[in-house]
Symmetry: C2
Subunit: 337 residues, 2 copies
């Protein structure tokens, strides 16, 4: 038996901002004779994330690059269409690091079942998945905010940013967001409870605006974007403050090594800690984090935010859109059920 499926492969390693020509949509035939312990999956929700840009380049990093002419991959929620594993039944919803394909055959151990009793399926990609965990560990374990402190978040209307701001509020901090549009500025205050927000695109002197919004200075800077925005925040950092390096999306498409003011003298004279991380550094603590996040979600102390593009064929467009801020919250592609 066989079925037709579609998948996106990486055709070339882009220079600068990728466009859709980096990807090719292929028609493939999938043989559905499942071996022992295999599942046939139908993709439902596909996560697109800024870190994928790094994997599209060939540079050495601690996540291997995507292979050329092979399917792109990422966090995907799928429905089990057929199972030759005693652990899964048709109709089960599963989560895994899977190919950008409409249907696929995988080993049962490469996915885990998700529970949709209290959370939407897509929330397992976002607030209860890598996004929420990244916000949680970066802010709490590196940023170590204390009640009453000021937390500034760049990319504040993005997937991770909206969660960081809400956790900062739960911890009794002041949350200030930097965003790229007036709509996002309004949204993070009205919907996610930020104390103030700044649209960097309409500010001539961003450092002074941050100073106005943070009269006591900045104690924690949760950085998703890097570049000039971070330069402006850093001028306002307090003595013994912390900078959490979560993302540098403004630099991911740079064609040359970006240059800027050297920051070490500032970190030195103000005794600042700056630390980069990837969420898997905290893998052993995932269960406690998911328990906290689930409880906050049930208690309506945090809420999830998603930008959903309908249609498998929109995966490249969704990923590219991240680099021009097309999303609010988690960017997800939803395939036909």
């Amino acid at each position: 038996m066989s079925i037709k499926a579609e998948r996106f492969v990486l055709l070339k390693r882009p220079t600068g901002v990728p466009d859709e020509s980096a990807f090719a949509l292929e028609q493939v035939t999938i043989f559905t004779e499942l071996k022992q312990n295999e599942l046939l999956l139908h993709g439902l929700y596909y996560s697109v994330d800024p870190y994928m840009r790094g994997r599209m380049s060939g540079a050495k990093s601690y996540v291997a690059p995507f292979a050329l002419n092979q399917p792109m991959e990422g966090s995907v929620i799928a429905r089990v269409a057929a199972s030759n594993s005693s652990a899964f039944r048709p109709g089960d919803l599963v989560l895994g690091q899977l190919a950008w394909a409409t249907e696929m055959v995988v080993k049962a151990e490469s996915v885990s079942k998700i529970d949709t009793t209290d959370a939407l399926a897509s929330e397992h990609l976002g607030i209860l998945g890598m996004t929420g965990l990244t916000a949680y560990f970066g802010l709490l374990k590196i940023g170590q905010p204390k009640a009453g402190e000021t937390v500034v978040i760049s990319g504040a209307a993005g997937a991770v940013g909206t969660v960081v701001g809400q956790i900062a509020k739960i911890k009794g901090c002041k949350a200030i967001g930097i965003v790229g549009s007036d709509e996002k500025s309004k949204l993070i205050k009205d919907r996610f409870g930020f104390d103030a927000s700044i649209n960097y695109k309409t500010q001539k002197d961003l450092a002074s605006q941050i100073k106005l919004a943070c009269p006591d200075g900045v104690d924690v800077y949760y950085d998703n974007v890097g570049g000039d925005i971070s330069d402006a925040v850093m001028q306002n950092m307090n003595f013994k403050s912390r900078i959490v390096l979560c993302g540098q999306i403004s630099l991911y498409n740079a064609k040359e090594v970006p240059v800027g003011p050297r920051i070490q003298p500032l970190l030195l004279t103000r005794s600042i800690l700056m630390q980069g991380f990837i969420v898997t550094n905290f893998q052993s603590q995932f269960p406690e984090a998911i328990a906290d996040l689930s409880k906050w979600l049930r208690d309506e102390k945090i809420e999830s935010s998603e930008t959903v593009l309908e249609g498998f064929e929109n995966l490249p467009k969704a990923l590219i859109g991240l680099f021009s801020g097309k999303n609010t919250g988690k960017m997800i592609v939803k395939a036909a059920a």
Copy 2:
């Protein structure tokens, strides 16, 4: 009663590398009628340190700038010439943050007696003073080296650098020093037990030389200098490595904000921690550190290194010399006894 004394005052705030015209040697008359609890001191050893350059500028920092037309000050060891305090007797040796003056009247509580039973007087300025403490806390509390790891030290033949390398060896690490002359290169290996050393002035491709000296990568980088040298070290940092920002002497005399490659993407993809500090952040732990350093000194596991300029009049020259690497180890000016 009065005596004649000399002192150096700060005449102007220099731009770029300071020269001796920034200082003026003044003749002053000191009245030696001591009030209750006052001491008359005769200066013996004067510490000059890179951080003093920052205090010569008017910029806001967490140590107040030196005042214009007022005496320079720093760590000084002095002999009590006369005392109106029950806690001190003539002949006692004391340490304090004191003026660059040959004689001075101070309150008794502004100095502390030093014990020269097991250590030379000048060692209380260096290895048992701020220098040793800076090396100790930066390396052990921020760098957190584990046995078998590789520690790279810039400014390795300087006051702090020589101590950092020796503590790294005590902790079972590999110590690699970066220095500015072949003499210093030889010295840190032969006298201070560094495993390898690199003269950055004779290397065309410093990053590759560091890679050769550190085949397993760099786990801790103890940075005293900043700038291009640090750029080269950073290319070799390991995943989850630590960068201790102790000094940035290559940038202290910059006339404009120095620019360089943005480092956040590297810190992010390699999960690196970078932290600035000043030694007083660890004040509550000074006693245990001094106990460790004293024991290592007694057991001959570390040794002190000093460059001594004779003559009070050489204070400005000694300070300026730090910025062209005139010193090996701690730079001290010794006045006539």
